[in-house]
């Protein structure tokens, strides 16, 4: 009887620990092997056949299709440079330069990967649309209310994610973080 109880106990612990760890890793965990620049992170390996099992499981679970490495690279940011979660009720400013690429796009999604409804039907910018300063730098204001210049509406949602995709870029698996310049993300005001 003792043996049986012990086995049952051990199996329960196993199921709890095993499934719990899988669930945590796939929902809470950040994938490893990322290329982090400021608040931005990209996973160059996710666009290749060398993608790790955890990332494969995450991709299968979310239903997304990672950008192939021969196509481009996607950087995403869920926080500003100080680590505050990106909040659609605040004014957040992206400023600076992007890495070398033939084209780039920036898009705002909710955490499930859906676009966010707004009155002007703008969900992002391409490198062609953006208004720049004389020195080539640009500024994008993410805000629930309209702003002059490059205004990216946040729709006032609580949490969002910014994805900056570089197309036809030399940045890839061999690139290190300090070789890459990404726009800074600063929170300006919150209600």
């Amino acid at each position: 009887v003792r043996l049986l109880l012990g086995t049952l106990f051990a199996l329960c612990v196993a199921a709890l620990v095993g499934l719990g760890a899988t669930w945590l890793a796939l929902t809470q965990g950040q994938a490893f092997g990322g290329l982090a620049v400021g608040a931005w992170t990209a996973w160059p390996r996710h666009g290749t056949a060398a993608i790790d099992p955890y990332a494969r499981a995450m991709v299968a679970r979310s239903g997304e299709l990672p950008v192939g490495s021969g196509d481009g690279l996607a950087f995403q940011a869920r926080t500003d440079d100080r680590g505050n979660t990106l909040d659609g009720r605040c004014d957040v400013v992206l400023s600076g330069l992007t890495p070398q690429a033939r084209y780039w796009t920036i898009t705002l999604y909710d955490h499930d990967g859906a676009l966010v409804r707004n009155s002007v039907e703008r969900h992002g910018f391409t490198s062609h649309e953006i208004v720049r300063r004389a020195n080539g730098t640009f500024e994008i204001v993410v805000s629930p209310r309209s702003r002059p210049g490059n205004w990216l509406p946040s729709g006032g949602i609580e949490r969002y994610v910014l994805v900056l995709r570089l197309y036809d870029t030399p940045i890839g698996v061999a690139t290190r973080g300090r070789e890459v310049t990404m726009p800074t993300i600063t929170r300006r005001q919150c209600p």
Partner: protein, 184 residues
């Protein structure tokens, strides 16, 4: 007490195995992965235009709304596939995914270096079966080997500004993805 601690330790170790197994198995069990989401809308071995993602509906999450997109869900069990797409004025790319959504190959218009991206998709076995005398012309052909018999080809054309979306979509309507005629 020691006995309980031992059982606990055994349980935790077994839990580690359960964890690794589920992570490795998940891609095969997933029913909401990109391939399964596209299966109802994309017929086999044909190019299907994907509707632009909207806040209400997106076939696959995290699609880039600046692109016109089309998909070819392929099945190589009856032989290799020929694929071609004319390049759009801005930027065109073709990405290949296995049945489990692993991006194993991608090429853009500049890398293809022509006005039409043309390639042949086959499994490793089918490539090994190519007649020897075809090697002569092989330098001229771009052959992509698919690790799985089924998978996805994602074709994307960039619209640098919203007004150019129709141009990008037009380039994709000429995309072809079809079974090669059986060679005698």
């Amino acid at each position: 007490v020691i006995r309980i601690a031992l059982w606990l330790l055994g349980g935790v170790l077994l839990g580690g195995i359960v964890h690794l197994t589920t992570v490795l198995w998940l891609p095969d069990l997933a029913t909401q992965d990109a391939y399964s989401r596209l299966a109802p809308v994309a017929p086999i071995n044909a190019v299907t235009a994907l509707p632009a993602p909207t806040p209400e509906k997106s076939v696959v999450p995290f699609l880039d709304p600046a692109f016109a997109m089309a998909v070819c869900r392929y099945d190589l069990s009856d032989g290799p596939l020929k694929f071609s797409v004319p390049v759009s004025p801005a930027y065109t790319s073709v990405s290949f995914y296995t049945r489990n959504d692993v991006a194993y190959y991608a090429i853009n218009d500049r890398a293809a270096g022509r006005r039409v991206i043309e390639l042949e998709l086959m499994t490793s076995e089918q490539r090994a079966d190519l007649p020897g005398d075809e090697e002569v012309t092989a330098a001229d052909r771009l052959i992509v080997e698919s690790p799985t018999v089924t998978g996805l080809i994602m074709i994307k054309a960039l619209a640098p500004e919203p007004g150019l979306m129709s141009v990008a979509q037009a380039a994709l309507t000429a995309a072809k993805c079809a079974q090669q005629p059986q060679q005698g």
